[in-house]
Symmetry: C2
Subunit: 229 residues, 2 copies
Amino acid sequence: FVKLNNIYKTYKMGDVSIKALKNVEMEIEAGSFVSIVGPSGSGKSTVLNLIGCLDQPTSGSILIENQQVQDLNKKQRADFRGQNLGFVFQNFNLIPVLSVYENVEYPLLMIKNEDSKNHRERILSLLDAVGVIDQKDKRPHQISGGQMQRVAVARALVTQPKIVIADEPTANLDHDTAFKIIDLMKRMKDQEKTTFVFSTHDPKIIGEAEIIYTLEDGTIQNREDRRDN
Amino acid sequence: FVKLNNIYKTYKMGDVSIKALKNVEMEIEAGSFVSIVGPSGSGKSTVLNLIGCLDQPTSGSILIENQQVQDLNKKQRADFRGQNLGFVFQNFNLIPVLSVYENVEYPLLMIKNEDSKNHRERILSLLDAVGVIDQKDKRPHQISGGQMQRVAVARALVTQPKIVIADEPTANLDHDTAFKIIDLMKRMKDQEKTTFVFSTHDPKIIGEAEIIYTLEDGTIQNREDRRDN
Ligand SMILES: Nc1ncnc2c1ncn2[C@@H]1O[C@H](COP(=O)(O)OP(=O)(O)OP(=O)(O)O)[C@@H](O)[C@H]1O
Ligand SMILES: Nc1ncnc2c1ncn2[C@@H]1O[C@H](COP(=O)(O)OP(=O)(O)OP(=O)(O)O)[C@@H](O)[C@H]1O
Ligand SMILES: [Mg+2]
Ligand SMILES: [Mg+2]
């Protein structure tokens, strides 16, 4: 469950103030499939970084799974992320010195209370599901852009987080591969009740969402609930 | 004018050989608008890197503007690129310590024989054409993913190169912004006779191409010439 209340995000550059988000309100039920759409520069990554606890709002509150997260300190936010969230970055952010397999394994090593018996099986099964199992021993610079993107998706899912935040997760993928990823996410939603919040520019991916928030110039223009159709 | 003859690109990883490109043949006329399509991992970036002289084939020849480029050494390739080519990278590759303006200016500083009187005007006009002029004094980490992509496009065009190679140049852009970029490229093609070779997953961008090469698993499956329609 995610609730954004009266969210403002302002960047100060010298005397200039850039209002990236203004009075953003969002309510996301557990287990839903939510898409955030809007032009380049409208604030989608900024919203996702706030939900993902990678950034703090200038003002306003963010409730995630009954935890107010806007006032957590850096260490508390890192712990909260490790326990609850998975994040697919717009620029993937893979670790260059680790192999594809090790990149996906990494979040599992960060959670202390998980027993590691089933880890290998889970990692291999995710790599296979996103279609990069043949690349598992390569390093990020030895694979294609779309392969990197899929490794980033697998990494976000490996800890079976409550909420997955994905910033344009299919931007570098062809139609068929993109749908493979979307189907994987929907399977996790159905089986694990994972909540998915993702931004995308792709109309066919937007078409898969239950709820669509439209952003423009930092404000929410529209919220569409398609579940009644 | 670009001609790829019997191109092979093989990556050696221990005892394993990965044939990323097999017997690729391509012929691109000056001033044409060529799209390379195919699934993630099929070899598009590899082909573009070869045309862009950022990489060398394992075997085969590459003729660009009457210059055989496959046997040029590193320095010769860098000079050839600076004089003739513009490249939009799949991951943008902006220089973090330079502002948006300075990133676009950079290739102009690398060409020694250009007089710099009109540079500022050209840079500002390109920044405006791709829609990022308000971001010109920011650094790459202070702008959105799609804004970075557009800065990368502006940078590839600023030296008015003979050939522009663009690796998924609209992946991070919404529909309207993507078409702004495509229209800018078509204007340059018409006015400057620039050749454009780009990869994309986006059907509506593919629809703008005159010639479409389809790649699959490292080999060319099809070449479609749509100019007779
Ligand atoms: N340095 C390398 N070493 C080993 N394999 C590589 C290397 N670089 C690329 N490859 C492999 O070559 C194949 C083609 O890669 P390429 O980046 O050209 O694909 P692409 O068509 O651009 O894919 P995408 O649409 O995902 O960007 C991929 O399977 C990739 O893993
Ligand atoms: N650190 C920063 N300092 C100043 N401005 C910033 C900073 N980060 C982002 N911005 C600005 O905030 C606005 C929103 O950025 P954001 O990355 O959220 O857009 P977006 O909707 O994700 O765009 P895209 O579709 O291009 O990825 C942009 O205009 C951007 O330039
Ligand atoms: Mg973004
Ligand atoms: Mg590629």
